[in-house]
């Protein structure tokens, strides 16, 4: 059964806490204040980076959201498999991002750091493929 986005993100953060606590602390420090509404197909979840933790919720007041990211599962797995770059996905509108440039850059930096860590661990690999 396909994993729901909120459950996936919560499990992802749990693995980060367990296996990469130092790196997670660094990411939280640099990304503090980001509240991202993540959409995957019709699945939605909010990622809130607070002072000391990352909270995954179903929703939050609209005025707190400063980044909106939307993509399909198909697009996500094309990017992960290297069949499509982020730029290509962005220009073909398969990957939609809304937010002010500074927050977007911080958000991008956060994701690249997370992905760099994730590729060193099979736990993340298996979790990501449960999203399929």
């Amino acid at each position: 059964m396909t994993l729901k986005l909120k459950k996936f993100l919560s499990d992802f953060i749990e693995i980060m806490k367990e296996d990469f606590p130092l790196q997670l602390r660094g990411i939280i420090k640099d990304a503090r204040g980001i509240t991202c509404l993540q959409t995957l197909d019709s699945d939605k979840a909010v990622i809130q980076i607070r002072k000391r933790e990352i909270i995954i919720t179903k929703g939050t007041p609209k005025n707190e959201i400063n980044v909106r990211v939307a993509l399909s599962r198909d697009c996500l797995f094309k990017i992960i498999a290297g069949k499509m770059t982020l730029a290509e996905a962005f220009y073909t509108k398969e990957f939609d991002v809304i937010g002010d440039p500074q927050t977007l850059l911080r958000c991008y930096d956060m994701w690249i750091r997370i992905i760099s860590i994730a590729r060193t661990s099979p736990r993340f690999h298996f979790l990501i493929y449960k999203l399929r």
């Binding site: 498999a81 290297g82 069949k83 982020l86 590729r119 060193t120 661990s121 099979p122 690999h125």
Partner: protein
């Protein structure tokens, strides 16, 4: 000097699984490589089956399977798969690797049966071991015994191998038959050019060293080709200034000739611009502008007394595998190249001039070479 018989393959080629009390378990890695080129169907294949990380920790250890095929038009088809430990069976008593959708089984008649599907490629192959296996120990004995002179390059390389690999075995010749399916098209395979090696050790992919190894996929029935020709160089640091190893040519009469690295000049030039694939795909997300720098030509020139060799390797298709360091800071690139090797020279009075397909593996820190013309 042969230390082993074909029947020893089952034991020698088994997985050297560490004890639960061993140190550096998280750095453990061990794999099988199978390579072949069918000259009739013009299919090149490289299959790799490995286990990585602590084999007793189901959360952090894992198995992997990788396929790299080049079709008759020169198109690359690659695939990779990560296998959870709960779905993987390996043994300390035989070379079997039984994973999800892929399996290597070693039969009593000294044949590897390999079956599986990885992405758009599938394979069902039978690879019979037709020459005894060799280990890193045997290379030292060979150099000392057959050459009667000491090749410093090979001795140092063999010494490095012992430090580096806890288990290193090769089967120099496999009779490969069966079929592969590439993107829906079935190709029969029937060739005597198969090669297999098995390596295992405990190290991190963030280290700055690397190696160049490869095999000319010779046809033993062709009078114009040697029985076998292979090479191995270990490199300290990302540049090629400090490297040790050699080139080994085996003639039809069974005599081997070693050219140690002190007798070989290696030059690399140009930049390869042909078919190139990078695995895993996520590498493209993290390094969008990264494309491994592969030389257009690699030339080995060796002279030892009246013997001489000149080998020009021309890569035709490249698959770069980028494993990451355990701490995610540095990576290594394993550039798996399908090449043609223009092999010419004279060894023990026998003259060679032939172009032979070849597998060339060049391993170095990721992005450590940006321009071979500059180096040359």
């Amino acid at each position: 000097m042969k230390l082993y018989s074909i029947d020893d393959t089952i034991q020698l080629d088994a997985f050297n699984i560490p004890s639960i009390f061993d140190d550096r378990l998280a750095l453990y890695k061990e794999w099988h490589d199978f390579v072949f080129y069918d000259r009739k169907t013009r299919i090149f294949g490289l299959l790799n089956f490995g286990i990585h990380g602590n084999p007793f920790d189901a959360k952090r250890g894992y198995g992997s399977a990788l396929s790299f095929f080049v079709d008759p038009q020169g198109k690359i088809l690659t695939g990779s798969k990560i296998i959870p430990l709960r779905k993987l069976q390996i043994s300390a008593y035989n070379p079997d690797f039984l994973g999800e959708d892929v399996e290597v089984t070693y039969k009593k008649d000294n044949t590897f049966n390999i079956k599986g599907t990885i992405d758009k490629t599938s394979f069902n192959l039978s690879l019979a071991v037709i020459l005894p296996p060799e280990s890193s120990k045997e290379i030292v004995f060979d150099v000392l015994d057959e050459q009667k002179t000491i090749s410093i390059g090979m001795i140092r390389a063999a010494d490095e191998m012992r430090k580096f690999w806890e288990n290193w075995v090769e089967c120099p010749r496999l009779l490969s038959s069966g079929e592969v399916t590439l993107d829906g098209t079935v190709f029969p395979i029937n060739t005597r050019t198969g090669y297999h090696d098995h390596e295992g050790g405990r190290f991190d992919w963030g280290a700055p060293w690397g190696w160049d190894t490869g095999v000319l996929l010779c046809d033993p029935s062709n009078a114009k080709e040697p029985v076998s020709a292979r090479f191995l160089f270990y490199r300290y640091g990302p540049s090629d200034e400090l490297s040790y190893g050699g080139f080994i040519v085996e003639k039809k009469n069974g005599i081997k000739k070693y050219f140690g690295s002190e007798k070989i000049e290696i030059t690399r030039s140009g930049r390869f611009s042909g078919e190139q694939s990078v695995i895993p795909g996520i590498t493209r997300l993290i390094y969008p502008d990264y494309k491994p720098c592969i030389p257009e030509r690699i030339v080995f020139s060796a002279v030892d007394g009246s013997d001489n060799l000149n080998i020009i390797f021309t890569p035709r298709a490249v698959c770069s595998v980028i494993p990451s360091s355990i701490n995610g800071t540095l990576d290594t690139e394993l550039n798996e190249m399908f090449c043609t090797a223009s092999f010419s020279g004279s060894v023990g009075g026998k003259t060679y001039k032939k172009t032979i397909p070849c597998w060339f593996e060049s391993v170095r820190p990721r992005g450590s070479v940006r321009n071979y013309d500059f180096e040359a």
